[in-house]
Amino acid sequence: MLDSILLLIMLSLFLGTGVWLFFIWAVKKGEFDDIEGPKYRMLDDDDETRNRPTDADGDAP
């Protein structure tokens, strides 16, 4: 009984810590600096532009 409680608590702490570290990484990366933009960006991103060059060669004719 005690062992299983300990195991479960450790497991949840372990998982939680992982998520927490991910969160801190995201904050440091600036992921939350703009909280207004993504809701619009989401609407814009769903269909990719027609003839967007693959990556290099940017200048359109």
Partner: protein
């Protein structure tokens, strides 16, 4: 369809006929106002981003000033680059962004550029961060790319300051995230412990869970709660008890008592400690987000004066220098469409200057050699040389900024009231807890139950509901207001707005539309339309606000305006067009009289009037007027109905203001005021005990906006006006003002209800706790229930505002479509 009826497909400005540029793009003819716009259209359609044109939601047409001009100084830009492992980074501001589609377009177009690894633009601050490969592209290439779209990239100054703000926000977010994560774990343990308390639990399991609870609570209290702990400690050292101290006290007592109980085998209350910290951090986080949203324009307004100027050295060499290095006596070159970087006198040439950001008046003024020029104003007609008279940090703009700063520093935060309350509340509760402990010890019960009763007093008196009473109401109100296009810069503003007694208005751009519109045409020997056609023809080549007003009227009446070249401009006076058969003059009466045209004397009624003559024959005149906003009357009526005193203040010395005041039933009126006098007038009112709101835009209002108890800026106002104001209306709609005042009043009522509720809860629960009838577990539960009540009451604000706004829902929906 006539040529002049076209609207530029890129920038949406009406096209003056002689400037029309038409071209075939993708087998379709498109029309533009200039080659720059054509180029932008080609880039956008070439990249397959035409969606931008369908989706954009601009509140005004036109491209950013100074867009399409290439020529960024590569060395200056190189200095801004931050070198990194994964490519170099460039951070800058993009001027001219007006909607989410603009952000999208700029990001896409930058990502398409070879060598750009990542491009992100912040929706709120319009700040772009571009990571690029220095082997493949350069900063000036990136700048040029944006400039070609009709936006204007600008290097950021004051970068370090903003970085500090960003770090602070991130640290708060991390503290909250940590507290929330650990509290969630803790909640699981607490649930088990509570269940065990009621139904029995194996002692070993209980101990284990309690140790884990202590383990997760410790960082919440000492890391996440550090801002409160240090604040509480500081207040203790300064002998000025505040809410931070109360929070600290509640948190630390719960924490250390629980630690004690961990040793002696009693119940623990780690959850109280952790939840208090988490909830209050959440409140601060949301508040800072709202505050930031309200001050998104801070970056942009700092850029009001250009940070670079073209200096002419004595040997005739041109040099691009930082504005800050300009000295009195230096000569700078300022082209048309550029802003003056510093105060000075015109050394050569004459031009028209748009001083609207400085004076608030939309009519450009004529400036000749020797005339004084104010920094930040816009040079319209020709390229001129300016002799600097003041170093940049002594310029008009800098002085206004300092005035504003002083006014802001003077303002005492409303938080002081809460602190005053806690100044006696905190010691009183501490004393009460102490005497409870003493009393029960004297009654000879066990020490542990005496401590328990004392802790019940502290926990039940914990400022949770009291602390939530104001912030939640303010949060809901600011959130609701923001959705309606009203931005309150902080909660104290809401409270101050609710207590106003006087509302003062600026005239131009606030009560009026801020752009001249044709109101009357009187012609001799021809129809009004014919006269207007002549006027439109001669005015079509200029971008003067009066010309724009005339052209707009011609367009409205469906008059064709053929392109016209060879018009000569006499800045500030009029226009002259010489044709083989006739000479047409348009302008002020004096301008025509100087050409020996007989102009009838008419009583000046203070409207703007342009006269026309052909070959010495007087043709007639067109009157223009800066019209009242259509919703002004209704909004003022609503404010009068709520018993506010209203006042009109204007820098314009003419009698137009008086007419407007009469029409809107504004009883008090003052004209010809300079910025300082406006602020003084407000000071005087305040010394008489009035609480004053100032509504305005334009730099000349900035000191008044800051001096007022509440400053309210209309959208479309200058950035500095937005920055110094407390309330910002994102749509130029005076109806919103009445709505804002109404909402603020309602919020104050809710706050009072909340405080009453929280206090009576305490009054009821504290005696119970002191008498030993309330175990700490129940005390904590009671505290939670009172918090829920308070939050629920605050949420009513959102609904109240919603029902208030049903009428506007339809128009709002259309805006978003």
């Amino acid at each position: 369809m006539t040529e002049s009826a076209f609207v530029c497909e890129h920038c949406q400005l009406p096209i003056a006929a002689e400037q029309l540029v038409s071209d075939r793009v993708d087998d379709q003819v498109h029309h533009f106002c200039c080659r720059g716009c054509l180029g932008a259209f080609r880039i956008i359609s070439g990249a397959g981003l035409e969606r931008f044109y369908r989706q954009r939601d601009w509140d005004r047409p036109g491209t950013a000033e100074g867009a399409f001009e290439t020529g960024f100084h590569p060395e200056l830009l190189e200095q801004l680059v931050q070198r990194g492992e994964q490519g170099n980074e460039l951070t800058f501001l993009i001027e001219g962004i007006r909607c989410a589609s603009c952000v999208w377009l700029n990001e896409k177009i930058l990502q398409d550029l070879a060598g750009v690894l990542e491009a992100r633009i912040n929706y709120g601050s319009h700040r772009a961060r571009v990571r690029f490969d220095p082997q493949q592209t350069t900063p000036s290439e990136i700048f040029t790319r944006i400039s070609r779209l009709g936006y204007r990239p600008r290097p950021l100054t004051a970068q370090a300051l903003q970085d500090a703000g960003l770090r602070e926000r991130r640290s708060l977010l991390i503290r909250f995230g940590t507290a929330a994560f650990l509290s969630m774990q803790l909640m699981g343990y607490s649930l088990a412990l509570y269940a065990g308390y009621f139904q029995g639990i194996e002692p070993g399991a209980r101990k284990l869970i309690q140790y884990f609870a202590a383990g997760v609570t410790t960082p919440v209290v000492f890391y996440a709660g550090w801002p409160f702990l240090s604040g509480g400690w500081r207040s203790l050292r300064n002998r000025a008890p505040n809410m931070d101290l109360l929070i600290t006290l509640g948190v630390l007592t719960a924490y250390f008592y629980s630690l004690l109980m961990l040793g002696t085998g009693g119940e623990v209350y780690f959850d109280s400690a952790a939840m208090i910290v988490t909830l209050i951090l959440l409140g601060r986080l949301l508040e800072s987000a709202a505050r930031r949203q309200a001050s998104a324009s801070i970056d942009r307004l700092l850029q009001l004066t250009p940070d670079r100027a073209t200096r002419l050295d004595p040997d005739g060499k041109r040099e691009l220098v930082e504005t800050g290095t300009l000295q009195p006596g230096d000569l700078i070159l300022v082209g048309p469409g550029e802003r003056f970087a510093a105060d000075g006198a015109l050394a050569e040439g004459n031009t028209e200057v748009d001083e609207s950001i400085v004076t608030g008046e939309p009519q450009p003024v004529h400036r000749a050699a020797g005339d004084r020029i104010i920094s930040g104003s816009l040079n319209i007609t020709t390229s001129v040389r300016l002799r600097i008279t003041q170093p940049a940090n002594e310029s008009f703009i800098a002085k206004v900024a300092r005035l504003v700063e002083q006014a802001q520093a003077r303002r005492a935060p409303v938080q002081a009231v809460a602190d005053r309350v806690s100044a006696w509340f905190v010691p009183a509760i501490m004393a009460l807890a102490g005497s409870t402990f003493g009393f029960w010890l004297w009654r000879d019960v066990s020490t542990s139950s005496a401590v328990l009763n004392a802790i019940s007093v502290l926990v039940v008196a914990c400022p949770c509901a009291l602390g939530l009473a104001t912030p939640t109401a303010i949060l809901v109100a600011t959130g609701t207001a923001a959705k309606a296009g009203i931005l309150f810069r902080g909660g104290d503003i809401l409270e101050q707005t609710a207590r106003l007694s006087v509302i003062a208005f600026d005239k131009t751009g606030t009560l009026t539309e801020g752009r001249p519109t044709v109101t009357g045409i009187s012609s001799r020997d021809m129809t009004a339309d014919e006269l207007l056609a002549i006027a439109a023809r001669i005015e079509s080549g200029t971008r003067h606000p009066i010309a724009t007003g005339v052209l707009r009227e011609a367009e409205r009446r469906g008059i064709a305006v053929p392109p016209q070249s060879g018009v000569k401009t006499f800045p500030g006076r009029g226009l002259r067009l010489e044709l083989p058969t006739e000479i047409i003059l348009a302008g002020q009466a004096d301008f025509l009289r100087a050409a020996w045209v007989e102009v009838p004397d008419r009583e000046s009624n203070d409207a703007i009037e342009i006269h026309l003559a052909s070959n010495q024959t007087y043709l007639g005149s067109i009157r223009l007027e800066d019209r009242l906003r259509p919703e002004a009357a209704a909004a003022l009526e609503a404010l009068h109905a709520d018993n506010y005193r209203t006042c009109l203040m204007t820098g314009d010395p003419s009698a137009v203001g008086r007419q407007i005041a009469d029409r809107l039933a504004i009883r008090e009126f003052a004209s010809g005021l300079n910025p300082e006098q406006k602020a003084n007038w407000l000071d005087e009112q305040q010394s008489r005990g009035e609480r004053v709101m100032m509504v305005g835009d334009g730099i000349n209002d900035a000191p008044a906006l800051a001096a007022a108890d509440v400053g309210c800026a209309m959208a479309g106002g200058t950035d500095i006006a937005l920055e110094t104001s407390d309330i910002i209306l994102t749509r130029p709609d005076l109806g919103k003002l009445a709505e804002a005042v109404h909402l603020a009043r309602k919020t104050l009522v809710i706050i009072k209800q909340n405080l009453f509720w929280a206090f009576s809860y305490n009054l009821l629960a504290i005696p119970l706790a002191a008498s030993g009838r309330l175990a700490p577990v129940y005390a904590a539960a009671a505290m939670a229930v009172s918090s829920v009540c308070v939050v629920g009451n605050s949420l009513r604000l959102a609904r109240a505002a919603k029902t208030n706004r049903t009428g506007q829902a339809a128009t709002k929906g259309a805006d978003h479509a």
